[in-house]
């Protein structure tokens, strides 16, 4: 049986953990590739800010009267959207950027899916998911620019 995340609490824990894992990933990149240190540290900082934003949206409006436990329908499949902090040994700067782009695309999909699943839930939470997905557009553009320049 596939364990899907079907409650607000489970989804929020998962997406905030993804932000934290991604923040760690960029810290590793910053330490390993001096060429991109500033950009990677800025991404890492923004990931931690994203985590707080999503948590704040959830904790600010969670109510026993809304469908926190029942609105995620079939649920979010964590296996599809998992991101890990690790980077393969011997990865070049370009490899690292390619891996980052892949992670960001996955996170963007995760937020879009979460936003769709949570439409019956507290609107603030859905909105914060959509904002996070939009932010990824900007992040992807920056990463692609770095890759082109690499």
């Amino acid at each position: 049986m596939v364990l899907t995340l079907n409650t607000a609490s489970a989804v929020i824990s998962f997406v905030t953990r993804s932000e934290e894992e991604t923040a760690k990933f960029y810290e590793q990149l910053a330490a390993k590739y001096p060429k991109g240190t500033d950009a990677f540290l800025a991404f890492s900082k923004e990931n931690r800010k994203n985590k707080v934003t999503v948590e704040r949206a959830y904790y600010g409006v969670i109510s026993d009267a809304l469908e926190a436990c029942f609105s995620f329908k079939e649920g979010l499949d964590p296996a599809t959207y998992s991101v890990e902090a690790g980077l393969p040994d011997g990865a070049t700067y370009a490899d690292a950027l390619t891996a980052a782009i892949e992670k960001e695309r996955r996170i963007q999909k995760m937020y879009l899916e979460s936003a769709k699943l949570s439409e019956g839930l507290m609107a603030d939470v859905t909105r914060s998911f959509k904002v996070m997905a939009r932010k990824r557009e900007d992040r992807l553009a920056k990463l692609n620019a770095l890759l082109l320049a690499a």
Binding site: L3, N6, T7, D64, E67, A68, C69, A79
Partner: protein, 519 residues
């Protein structure tokens, strides 16, 4: 819990999801009373506090004596004169601090609720948020408590009102919302200059102990905020005590109607007695079923059905449909409802993927089993049998009951007319809106009723005609926000003013009128 984490950690998905939260304490909590700013041991006997999900004893609660409730009232009475003379601004500064500490300890107090009550972590956090909202509203007392005036009611004469606190209030909380319900009252009581003695349910008292710790840290002077644990002796002690000016009670209808309301009448106390319920959720033919069904799951199965706003009867109304159309619509609603209910994940609420927790205790489950049998005996059709317990993990079944659904329930059947307070749904048919309104109004309870429809005229008629204190229109749980009264009618409420918001402020203050003329 450790065993559960260990077992789940072998599941690959768990590596990713990490969905089991830590319990907020290990071992046994020995609950004390909080009287006059001190933590005091009780001389009364102790009862176990049992985590309903795993049946582990997690604490003991004292059944306090008459002397102990008297001591708490004396401390509250002693604190009253100087507290009422404290400026409203200074009083609400304690509430602002309390709010800040509650936010800091938000997760801890939420997990405490799940651990001692059984509700899911989402539900506990929702309860915490709604409790805090009452603290926030009460911080507006410097404005909300103001009286009013009119110059020149006669030549040279002015008239005005002032709102004054009364003294000590007793607050008797139920087991089903151990955090939120005492906060429907206490913040308003103390903000208006009164003092309080709170008696939490002895089944899950740790939550209120945490709040008392926070009140202490927030700087309320000794005696303003008191907690006395126990049972009937404490309740009777409050009812009989001449220094208690009013009682706020939330619990069953027999206790509200036969004990609290007459008890307060005898001793001239103010009273808010919120009682039992039998809430109906009406599905009209034009309802958006994709949104209605999840909302119904929360309404009927949230908190394992243990709330006075829980849906209990799902009424499928056939207004405007031909007979064959109505049959088809009824089947569609029943199938969607039973399908969704059968998928609900039941287990320990600290597992974030669990959607419904256990009942508060084994005794409550046994009552539910009796009700299910009554439903079968009286001829209702059992469409989903929750007695076949299916949990997400290997936990003792003692207090667990899966969602249970009866269809074709008649209004005179026990399960269709009385409060059950558990995860049991009765589905009824009504042929039109008029018959629906009559069905609802014939029920002796009037706490909350809801309608799901896209038709404004039907919604308006429902709102206008249904005799119920809280009406939901496309909202399954009609829980008023802190700035609105938590209403109730018929056998669901005894008193005049309700908890929360402006009505609570009226309840906790006495209006004094001054007419002045200067020679």
């Amino acid at each position: 819990m450790e065993r559960l984490r260990e077992r789940l950690s072998n599941r690959p998905e768990f590596e990713i999801a990490m969905s089991i939260l830590e319990e907020p304490w290990k071992g046994i909590q020995v609950v004390k009373n909080y009287i006059g700013g001190e933590w005091v041991d009780s001389k009364g006997e102790r009862v176990d506090i049992v985590n309903p999900a795993n049946q582990r004893v997690i604490g003991t609660c004292p059944i306090s004596t008459k002397d102990e409730i008297d001591a708490a009232v004396a401390a509250a009475q002693e604190a009253f004169p100087s507290w009422r003379e404290t400026t409203p601004l200074a009083r609400v500064r304690c509430l602002f601090r309390m709010k800040e500490i509650l936010e800091e300890r938000f997760e801890e107090v939420s997990r405490v609720q799940t651990m001692e009550h059984g509700k899911t972590i989402d539900e506990s956090r929702g309860e915490t948020r709604r409790g805090i909202e009452n603290v926030e509203v009460a911080t507006g007392i410097p404005t909300l408590m103001m009286g009013y005036n009119l110059e020149d009611i006669a030549e040279g004469i002015d008239e005005y009102t002032i709102n004054q606190p009364l003294g000590v209030f007793g607050i008797i909380g139920p087991f089903n919302f151990p955090f939120m319900i005492p906060l429907w009252f206490a913040p308003y009581a103390v903000a208006t200059g009164n003092t309080v003695v709170i008696k939490p349910s002895s089944e899950d008292p740790v939550t209120q102990i945490k709040i008392a710790e926070i009140a202490d840290e927030a700087g309320f002077p000794p005696g303003v905020w008191n907690v006395v644990n126990g049972g009937r002796t404490v309740v009777n002690g409050m009812l009989e005590h001449p220094d208690i000016k009013g009682i706020c009670f939330v619990g069953s209808t027999p206790t509200a109607k036969e004990v609290i309301y007459p008890g307060c009448g005898k001793t001239g106390k103010r009273v808010i007695a919120q009682a039992g319920a039998k809430c109906h959720v009406v599905v009209m033919p034009d309802a958006d079923l994709a949104r209605t069904i999840p909302s119904c799951m929360t309404s009927f199965f949230g908190n394992a059905g243990q709330r006075c706003l829980a849906g209990s009867v799902l009424v499928v109304c056939g207004e405007g449909l031909s007979d064959p159309e109505y049959e088809s619509f009824y089947r569609k609603v029943v199938d969607a409802y039973v399908g969704a209910a059968s998928k609900i994940r039941v287990g320990y609420g600290l597992d974030e993927t669990v959607q419904m927790g256990p009942l508060r205790d084994k005794g409550k489950k046994e009552k539910m089993l009796e009700y299910i049998q009554k439903g079968i005996d009286q001829g209702a059709d059992l469409a989903l049998d929750g007695r076949k317990v299916r949990l997400v993990d290997d936990l003792p079944h003692d207090a667990f009951l899966n969602p249970t659904v009866f269809k074709d329930v008649a209004p005179d059947m026990y399960i269709g007319r009385e409060e059950l307070f558990g995860p049991i749904t009765s589905i009824m048919r009504t042929r039109n809106l008029n018959a629906t309104v009559e069905l609802l109004n014939d029920n002796r309870f009037g706490n909350a009723d809801a309608i799901f429809t896209s038709n404004g005229k039907w919604a308006r008629e429902f709102q206008y005609r249904v005799r119920s204190g809280n009406i939901g229109i496309n909202v399954g749980i009609v829980a008023p926000m802190a700035f609105f009264p938590f209403s109730g009618m018929k056998d669901s409420f005894f008193g005049v003013l309700h908890g929360q918001g402006k009505e609570a402020i009226r309840f906790f203050t006495e209006s004094k009128v001054v007419i002045q003329r200067w020679f």
